[in-house]
Symmetry: C2
Subunit: 320 residues, 2 copies
């Protein structure tokens, strides 16, 4: 059984694999694999980062490459509301890489998992012509939040502020030095572990972390839940420097932020009665804002509007 | 805390990483990460396979590449005596790879995990110029067998027969077609899951799976246990076709088999009183032979002898 996924060649491949595996697979297609151990559920997820595909060495320090790879994987634990136990890191580097390269990468991985209370539990080292990190995270939760629980009438909320990572990426791709605030969003994203647990305790019906942008990840949540998401882009909270970055490419700031991937914030469906005061409690407890950006309706797909007018956007796809 | 490892640049890197991580790491250096969940222990291990480093596409079908990657990872569960729950597979392929390439690789992965009663639980897909598979396996056990429990006076035993994978590899590297029996050993290794559980129930003190050869893996077990291993190479059980392959390169068959990696058999220390009749019970229950090849003594390292004379060998090292 595979959770329903949104459109795109990457997800067509996942569907083809799931169809071929048949009952040799179980529970594919959510943020984490969820293993029911009786008294609690174990959440496990793998996230692979590859030089040239996910990052360039000239943009980031080795410590930042390690942090980002681990933070991206840990973000999947946040999306199910799990408490991290730790991670395994598989690293593959060119044969002539000095020991210090491994140590610096793993220092970043270790900092990221330490920041959320987990440990480096193991891994594997090997040779590859391209720097490759595959991070497998393990967490535990009494009752995981899936992508599939959103219902018409729910409110749609997002943690933090969006677009900062994309602002830095556009600068880096153009050979410009990003503003420090954007660079931090890109190089040192913070997995929303505490916010994920808080939301799980406060009625979250469905969650997903934003790695491919609001449109793409929204589609997965909509498809898994069998609902439509309506998102008002003027409500999207903007990361620092995003207004300037958006105007530099002549995009509305809300559109710019919605297109951005790798912010690793959480998109969450909460019951309609969940109120702004409760969002304030999360902010007071963790320092993380929670902003209502839309609603769940009957139907399918993601409907984006800007000042009431429809907008078309696609999520990021590795094989598009 | 890191388990003591044998010598070599790959293990120097692991030691350097563990030293830098300090208490941000836990339990590195055994076959699996072991998470104590109270009533049982979860065993988790990652194993990365990369084109050009671990295999060549002209030697193996995509299904065989998938099987081998999964079997190598599942072998780590066998080495702690765990029951497999399933695995996560991270696959990275060139951007122009058709969907069928992913499906065939995952068919092999799925067959391997299905053969030992587990499921494909999740994973990740991405782009890389070199075909890369990272497999993370998860299993459960009431009492895991570690590398560190061997004591002087124990007997040293090995499951199955060794050298078959190396016989095939030497043929493939020389452009010859391997004998079918050797090819199967290389392309479709069987993780010794049932044997691992049987040995755990019958007094195993320490186990390791043979991925880098008897000398290299023996050193890890010796170092972790703080003992010396004495192995009589003429006792090493030989895979089919190994005598012919050894004589073709003018090596004694026992030396040839001991040098071979990727047989994925288990090296196990059992109490001195464990007898050949008990080994027969394992064989009757699972069809897998168990052969005594030496003993555990006070001291350190691995002492290999052939007809009473000392022999020097090294294990395989990705960074040597």
């Amino acid at each position: 059984m595979i959770a329903r996924l949104g459109a795109g060649p990457e997800f067509d491949r996942i569907r083809a694999i799931a169809a071929a595996l048949g009952d040799r697979a179980a529970g594919l297609g959510d943020d984490c694999a969820l293993l029911d151990l009786g008294t609690e559920t174990l959440a496990i997820s793998s996230d692979i980062s590859i030089e040239g595909t996910h990052f360039r060495q000239e943009w980031l320090s080795l410590e930042e490459i390690g942090w980002r790879a681990a933070a991206g994987a840990l973000s999947d634990l946040a999306a199910v509301g799990a408490v991290p136990i730790g991670l395994l890191a598989s690293l593959a580097l060119p044969a002539d890489s000095p020991s210090s390269t491994f140590v610096q990468l793993m220092d970043g991985v270790g900092r990221a998992v330490d920041a959320v209370g987990g440990k480096v539990l193991g891994g594997d080292l090997s040779r590859s012509p391209v720097l490759t990190l595959d991070i497998t995270v393990i967490g535990r939760t009494a009752s995981p939040i899936r992508r599939s629980g959103a219902r018409p009438g729910d409110g749609l909320w997002v943690t933090g502020r969006l677009g900062g990572a994309r602002a830095a990426l556009l600068d880096l791709q153009s050979g410009r030095l990003p503003a420090e605030v954007s660079r931090v969003a890109f190089a040192h994203p913070t997995p929303r572990i505490l916010a994920g647990q808080w939301l799980a305790r406060h009625g979250a019906r469905a969650m997903i972390d934003l790695s491919d942008g609001l449109a793409g990840d929204g589609h997965h949540l909509a498809a898994a839940s069998g609902v439509a998401l309506v998102i008002e882009l003027e409500r999207v909270p903007l990361g620092p420097g995003v207004e300037e970055a958006a105007s530099a490419v002549a995009e509305s700031a809300g559109v710019f932020a919605a297109r951005g991937g790798e912010d690793y914030e959480l998109l969450v469906a909460l019951p309609g009665e969940f109120a702004a005061e409760q969002a304030g409690e999360l902010n007071a407890a963790t320092g993380i804002p929670l902003t209502r950006i839309g609603r769940v309706e009957a139907g399918e797909g993601v409907r984006l509007t800007l000042e009431g007018k429809p907008v078309q956007l696609r999520g990021f796809d590795h094989f598009a």
